[in-house]
Each structure stands twice: as C-alpha cells, then as structure tokens.
Subunit: 211 residues, 2 copies
Amino acid sequence: MPRIVDAEQRRRELAAAVWRVIRRDGVTGASVRAVAREADTSMGALRHWFATQDALLRFAMLLVTERARARIEAVVGDGPLLPSHVLAVLEETLPLDDERRAEAEVWLALVARALVDPDLAALRDRAAADLHGLCSAVVVALTEAAEEPLGVDVPLEAERLYAVLDGLALHALTRPAALPADRARAVLEAHLAGLRGTPSIVPPSERGNGR
Amino acid sequence: MPRIVDAEQRRRELAAAVWRVIRRDGVTGASVRAVAREADTSMGALRHWFATQDALLRFAMLLVTERARARIEAVVGDGPLLPSHVLAVLEETLPLDDERRAEAEVWLALVARALVDPDLAALRDRAAADLHGLCSAVVVALTEAAEEPLGVDVPLEAERLYAVLDGLALHALTRPAALPADRARAVLEAHLAGLRGTPSIVPPSERGNGR
DNA sequence: CGGAAAGTAGCACGACTGTGCTATCAACAG
DNA sequence: CTGTTGATAGCACAGTCGTGCTACTTTCCG
C-alpha cells in the first residue's frame, strides 16, 4: 500500500469517522469495528494508528477542541481582544451551523463519558479552563472599553458569561426548534450588551439595535 | 417469595441501582447484568419489572425529573411564585449537594444518550419545557415585583436565565473545584439581582444600595 | 536486486451483550 | 387441599465487544 504522506492527516480522517459514528449511534456505538467500517478500512489498519479504543476516542475529543480553538484564533488573530470582535469570537463555540453542531454533539457525548473516564476528563478540563479564560478576557475587554468605569466583579461575571455560553450551546444543541441559531445569537448579544454597561433590561424605546 | 407490597417502590429500587451503576461506570456500563448485580437480584427478576433495557433507562431518567419536580414543588407550594422564593426554587436544579449531584450526573449521561435515543429525547424535551416555563415564571415574578416597570423582553430573559441555570449546573457538575456550591449560588444570585432591576453592573455613583 | 519498514487485512480468543425461555418458589383464593 | 398468580432465578442463543496476533502487500532505501 502507498505510504501515507501525512500520518496526522490519516489520523484525522479516522477520527472523522469516529465523529460520524458517534453522531449516528452515540458513543456506545463507536466500537472499533463500527469505526473501521465507517472509515472503509479494516480493524488492523485502525489499530495501526490507534493502539486502543480509548486512544481513538481521546483523539476524536482532542480534535473538537483543536478545531474550535483554530476558529477562535482565526477570528481574534494575534492582536488584543477587541470589543467589536467579542460576539463573533464567542459565537464560534455555539452550534449555529452544521459544522459546529457536529462538534457540539460529539463534545456532549464525550463530556458525558468523561464523567467516568479520567483521560477524557483531562481533555475536558483543559478546554474548560481555556474557555473560562476567554470569558474572563471578554469581560475585561468589554468593561475596560466602557466610557465610565463600571463596578464589575470580573471573576463572577466571567463565570456567569461562561455559564450563559455553555447553557446556550446545550440548549441550541438539544432543543434546536426552541432555540434556533439567530435566537441563540440574540440572547448572547443581549448578555454582552449588559457587560458593555448597557443593561440588557432597557426601556422599549431603546430596543431594536439588531446585531 | 413474599409479595411486593408496592410495585412502584420496587421499580424505584431497581432504578436506584441503575443510577449507581451509571455514576460508577457510565451509561455504557449499565447492562442488564450489571444492574441486576448492583441491585442484588437476578436478570430474571429485573426483566420481570422492566421488559427491556430501554424501558429500564427510560424509567431511571424519568425518576430524575420526578424528584427534581417534587423538590421544586415542595419549595414553591401551591401558591404563586414569590420573588423571595425564586433563588431557593432555581437552586433545586443545581448539583449543590450529593443528592442533586447524583441526579445531575445521571441526567447528563442520559441527555447525551438522548441525542441518539428518541425515547429519552422525549423525556428530556418535556423536562426542558418545564424548566423553560419555570424560568419564564421567574422572570415575570421578578419584573412584576420591581418598583418601577422595567422594559424587559420576557421570552429573551427567560431563555437567558435558563441558559445560566443549565450552564451553572453543567459547570458545577464537571468542574466542582472551579465552581463550588456557594460560588454557583452566588453567580445565580447575581443574575437574579439583575432581573430584579438591580443590575449586577452599576455605575460607581449608584453603588452601595446592596442586593 | 534485496531487505527493512509502513500499512492493511482479518482471524482467534475470551469476555460480555440483550433477550427469549423454562423452572422454581412463595403466597393467596377457592 | 389444589390452582393461580406474583416474583425470582438463571440457562441458552446469537451476537458484539476489544485486543493480540499473524500474514500479506506496497513502498522506500541502499
């Protein structure tokens, strides 16, 4: 057989097959055989790239965080976190289109498994720490940009923003009919408006400044 | 063998064994044999009460919602939703002690499975609709109690409160060290303060009129 | 050309899976 | 007493599971 030009690429292809199986049959259905079949290869080939099933699932989970991180960095770039970019950045963690929805489904399945799998829990904790840090940065960026100094409890507001973010992600994922993409965006935007010093609770006369 | 006095009680005992297995080994480990062993009974006895494994998991999930609902009703009672009870009511959905933590773990595991199991999805959707309704009622109760009328987008604020609630639940469950019980409570309380018309973010000139 | 290495294929094993099924036991009705 | 029902026990079947392992093909290096 032809040499694989890029080993990492091959591993990503197989992990993509894991994603498809998890989305179709859940993490329970992600057996070695099912993944090999989905990837149109053999058990032996699969085990050549991943010694155990746990390693396979670990890599599949790692891929979720990597992709989200890449999208976020593509938006924010190297520079500082601009208030004008905040909504776009945080949106990248919500399941608002098919690609991000796929990631969120896999993420939820693996986070649940992480409750009883220390390896997956470690990956989850690292991602959580990253997102929590991002939320802190967002709170700082928004409050610093306010015209007059706001009395903000930054750690608390970061925690609250993080909760809104993951809560929206969970609900947009599990109740897409009740919380479609644009509505999830609107809720997030309203929350960010509050952090900007413009309380989300405003008289009707001032409402209607869509995103 | 002695007749079972209360069939429902027996089913609850078996479902409790399901909970213990799910908490220890995840939903993957909740096989018929494992549950029977945990409940200290036989496969035959288990199958006498639950015809299939799906029925067993369905009942275990139903039990989570039932218990949460019972606790909430115990707090709010028959009367109207008083602003003074709002925090205590919403707290009942957070994993702030061992009992509620157990429910949340089982809930997360089964919600993940619900992504590929229509029966569980139906239970999840019903619970979500209930909680969403509760959040709406909370928003209405708090804004109506405000001294001056606030321009509140009730559906949007309900959605945001629901997101905060489930986000906090998820984080308190998966990152208990980063978000201990009293801190989760504090974040929720800060959010409710905002709904009361006392924004969590206030200009320095208006500060000092405590929560 | 020959050998090493990369990659693929898939069998074998022992363990586990859900469910159908029968057998057994306890308790009550008649 | 007998007969019926509730409840338990556990075997049998036909699979699937993860992984160890060998065999094989293809590619590259010297």
